[in-house]
């Protein structure tokens, strides 16, 4: 409806200005359509903003209204009971639970009417706001009115807002992680978390048991992540780098035209698919071939997860290193060839050293991707936190623990869920550092040839 109105006001503004130009016989400042846009933007934007704010805040307001209503009607309930009753009322309102008592009916009716009032209120308020802004805009339109720059300013302002979304997101991430992490460190000492050798959060869940020391020692999961990541890099770096070298230095354009998109396909495969591949194909294959040479592999071995994660990383490394290798000036290749070096000598002694900073930064990016990768390890690595460097045994990873801790129980008061945020924060910091380092290296390297 709002859209329709704004359309109408657009054309109204256009006609209005044309008529005035005709009547007053002076040349207009801005074109007709800008006047139309000016009107319709003033009509639509305030009410949209209002609606968004309302939608974001009204559930909370209604919620607390309901809570105080419950408190007033049943003064002897504890806080937890009030919360339970509240969620019962809401599910009854949604039609999931039956309304089984009179009190319940009363509360549901209260909730229902609060919702209706809120919606009506919103409609009236936003209509008022729209109309007043519209009238204000209408009043300002003149033939010599600079509608164009007004419209452009609105556009520009919205662009600045859009750019700030990135910053808001970062702030959101950091805040949401930090707040819960601080809560967590109120329960568990930070040194116990960072240097503890034992991780068994599930035990702390039992009612009578307070999370004791040592149970949230994150060292085993850090080690697990490091082990899996190392295996992955061990696979991905040589294969990715060598394929990039082949594609950029040796292959004919035709082969390149086929192989490059294929590698891009490999990069576009969702990680849940790799996870399934790891669990279904790679892990049994490794276990069977391990058994045939007398090795006993866990079916959730670090090797299987690392191997498949390595496969996932290959296209990332190869496409990034392909870019940096191609950025090495052709004149260096010619200079080396003119001295009589073979192609591989040119690659090994001139191109790779010249491209090294770029390659290092690509590897760092790949490393941060591997550390933060979730689905492969969730599906192929284990849950139990074993402190081991043996790639044939089952280990767990940071991301696995985040998923395990947060699926199911999501009340924000247990050390268990808070631990997930602490792990997430650690993950965020590590990948952030790797990224900053990689960007720094690339920037430095670019200066060299400019």
């Amino acid at each position: 409806m709002l859209l329709g109105l704004s359309f109408v006001s657009y054309f109204y503004g256009k006609r209005l200005i044309r008529r005035r130009v005709y009547e007053q016989k002076i040349s207009q400042h801005s074109r007709d359509s800008y006047h139309g846009l000016y009107l319709s933007l003033y009509l639509i934007i305030p009410s949209v903003i209002l609606t968004l704010i309302w939608l974001a805040s009204s559930p909370n307001i209604i919620d607390s209204l309901l809570k105080s209503k419950i408190k007033n009607s049943f003064p002897d309930l504890s806080l937890g009971e009030i919360n339970i009753l509240k969620s019962k009322v809401i599910s009854a309102y949604d039609g999931i639970l039956p309304v089984d008592s009179e009190q319940m009916e009363m509360l549901v009716n209260f909730y229902n009417s609060a919702n209706i009032i809120s919606t009506n209120f919103l409609i009236i308020i936003s209509a008022l706001v729209s109309v007043s802004f519209f009238l204000f805009a209408l009043n300002r339109i003149r033939v010599r009115f600079n509608a164009r720059s007004k419209v452009e300013n609105i556009l520009k302002f919205s662009m600045i807002l859009a750019s700030c979304v990135a910053i808001i997101t970062t702030i959101g991430i950091v805040l949401s992680l930090i707040i819960e992490t601080i809560e967590f460190f109120k329960i568990i000492k930070i040194t116990d978390f960072l240097f503890g050798l034992q991780w068994s959060p599930q035990i702390a869940l039992r009612e009578d048991q307070v999370a004791g020391e040592g149970l949230f020692g994150a060292i085993p999961i850090f080690i697990g992540t490091i082990l899996i990541t190392l295996i992955a890099m061990f696979i991905a770096v040589p294969i990715g780098l060598l394929s990039a070298i082949y594609l950029s230095e040796y292959s004919k354009p035709k082969i390149r035209a086929i192989a490059k998109p294929m590698l891009e396909v490999l990069a576009g495969i969702p990680t849940v698919v790799y996870g399934f591949f790891a669990a279904l194909t790679v892990a049994p294959l490794l276990r069977n071939s391990g058994a045939s040479v007398g090795l006993s592999l866990s079916s959730e071995s670090a090797l299987a997860a690392g191997l498949v994660m390595g496969i996932m990383i290959i296209p990332l490394i190869s496409s990034l290193s392909d870019d940096v290798i191609n950025a090495v000036p052709q004149s260096l290749r010619e200079g080396s060839a003119a001295l009589g070096s073979t192609q591989s000598e040119t690659v090994k002694l001139v191109i790779l050293p010249a491209a090294l900073p770029g390659i290092v930064s690509a590897i760092l990016l790949a490393l941060s991707r591997a550390i933060g990768e979730t689905m492969i390890v969730v599906m192929a690595a284990g849950v139990a936190a074993n402190l081991t460097f043996n790639p044939f045994e089952s280990v767990t990873a940071v991301t696995v623990q985040i998923v395990v801790l947060l699926i199911g129980d999501q009340e924000f008061d247990s050390a268990k869920t808070l631990a997930a945020f602490a792990l997430g924060f650690t993950l965020f910091i590590i990948t952030l550092l790797l990224n900053v380092l990689s960007i720094y290296i690339v920037r430095k390297y670019r200066e060299q040839y400019d």
């Binding site: 750019s163 849940v272 669990a279 073979t342 969730v378």
Partner: protein, 419 residues
Amino acid sequence: MTDNFIETRLRKRYSAEKRFKIYSVSALILALLILATLISSIAISSIPAFTQINIGIDIKMNDDQILQFEEDPENVSWRSLQKKSFYSMFPDVETRKDKKELNKLLSTGAYIEIKKFYLDNPNKLSDNNIIYVPASDDVDLLIKDIIDRDLPQDMRTISDNQISYLDKLISNNRIKKTLSWRLFSNSDSREPELAGLKGGIVGTLLTMFVTLIISFPIGVLAAIYLEEIAPKNKFTDIIEVNINNLAAVPSIVYGLLGLAVFLNYMNMPRSAPLVGGIVLALMTLPVIIIATRAAMASIPPSIREAAYGVGASQMQVIVHHVFPLALPGILTGTIIGIARAAGETAPLLMIGMMAFIVDVPSKITDKATVLPAQIYMWANNPERSFEYLTSAAILILLVILIMMNLLAILLRKKYERRW
């Protein structure tokens, strides 16, 4: 320095050259081979899921049932109609235990097919009909030769008796293999022979819709500002570094953000495409911004200067010239970003979009799941049939994603312009 010395050295250098070339070409071949293995292993294991086995039951309604049907189809006891008709095809089976075994050949949802048949063909109420209903997953696997019937009875999930009933059905020509269209028309189920992907596909579409309408306008506006308008100062520098960092934040961290901010703080509905879409939009935003900026940076300044030269304002230059010329590049980047978001699972696990949900979502605040999350849930299902179903679901997801990527490549090829 003798000639001999030079010659041996040369030979060594050439063999090093050859070795290096072999290493690098085999690395590439290995990478492509892995891709081929991955796709073919999934494709092969998905084959059984694309057909399904149906069992034909001879059914004739009695007068009571016809009357009930005419009152209200819900009044008919479809399950007992199914059971009685099926048992009457095997007059020798008498004990309760055997009957129970016999009934287990059929899917637990078989009666729904019977009901559907009569609803679609009300003129056949009093006829003798052969109605084909889905067989249970074990029968399905046995007839597809995945369960070996020569194994001893206690090593397979289907008993000797059941096999003998099946043989009778086969000899009476009551077994039919059809394509499993239910993969697209059914939503999730605990029974593999009934489970379909409709819920996941619709959920993915809804989620991607939210992602697109949030990330595309914001991403493009932000990119235009940063590339064309923003003065180069500390503030814009911070935004730039920020965007680069956001692009590399692990996806699961976005999930934590969604959980803490949207679910716990803002009280948005759990498991809803709305929240999933917002989280994925935040994740896709840097991709779109970076792609848009690259597309606009590749437009030569001469175009802008020409437009300024005829008196256009900065906004007019952007809206009339820069943006339309950059649009193919922007769309390519957007499609690639959305395709990546469509395959994303981890952040959605955090906000509960992997619950077992039978209903197909109809709006963005309904509980829903997405295709990758459904794949994850199916992959965790111990029943063997789900392994094939998972592969089939992956294949469908991959086809969708590859088509999106192809579209992006075609778009780039068609409108690529070298300045």
